[in-house]
């Protein structure tokens, strides 16, 4: 991740221009917030996939999930489900 991308993320997430943040925040504060953001995004992604699985099952699809999910952040829904070990059947 470049500093430009970090700056864009900071502005989007916390509404702070980079020059204001770097004048007031410490490296450790940014680290804690970045880790917290990463955990939140991971949780939201997992919840979205779980919701999609519920919907798919409700529509009659055979979706099976392993115990441990893999990396799914950049996947579209179908790929994410397959990476998790699920089998997606067209209804």
């Amino acid at each position: 991740m470049t500093m430009g991308e970090v700056a864009e993320l900071v502005l989007h997430e916390w509404g702070l221009p980079w020059h204001e943040l770097e004048a007031t925040w410490t490296d450790e504060q940014l680290e804690v917030y970045m880790r917290s953001l990463a955990r939140r995004l991971e949780r939201e992604q997992r919840e979205r996939v779980q919701l999609a699985v519920l919907l798919a099952r409700a529509m009659g699809a055979d979706v099976r999930m392993p115990e441990e999910p893999g990396e799914t952040r950049d996947d579209d829904l179908e790929t994410a489900l397959r990476r998790w070990g699920g089998e997606v059947e067209e209804v």
Binding site: A23, T26, E31, V32
Partner: protein, 132 residues
């Protein structure tokens, strides 16, 4: 060696407690912009340490190098951090009272708060020295 800082300490920007010249001095971690100036200042020494790691040296060898070959660099890094942080000690006082070993310990603490994502270089060295 101080313990790993908690998330609460990091969020509150809790001061570093550095022992220099036999006294405990509290120093607030630098904001990112000033921290970047400090990192630029010490970049040469840090890249040398990275090289020592890449060459397969263990923590003890690097500590030896820091203390024997580069005490001036360590002193400069510590003094500049204290200056940027507005610490209540002058460079002259530090030179007069602080030992090389104290400066080395202080440098590890300064490095740890300035490179929180680092897992190599001085970050690994600090961890290894803490276990030794």
């Amino acid at each position: 060696m101080a313990e790993e800082r908690t998330e609460e300490q990091k969020l509150a920007a809790a001061p570093l407690r550095l022992v220099l010249g036999g006294q405990t001095i509290e120093v607030r971690p630098l904001p990112i912009a000033r921290s970047r100036r400090w990192r630029e200042h010490v970049a040469g020494m840090l890249s040398r340490i990275e090289q020592l790691f890449r060459d397969g040296n263990d923590a003890a060898a690097i500590v030896r190098w820091l203390l024997q070959e580069s005490p001036e660099s360590v002193f400069e890094a510590v003094a500049y951090y204290l200056e940027l942080a507005g610490a209540p000690v002058t460079r002259e006082w530090l030179e007069e009272h602080a030992t090389d070993a104290e400066c080395y310990e202080a440098l590890l603490e300064m490095y740890r708060v300035s490179y929180p994502f680092a897992t190599r270089g001085l970050g690994a060295l600090a961890t290894a020295a803490g276990r030794a």
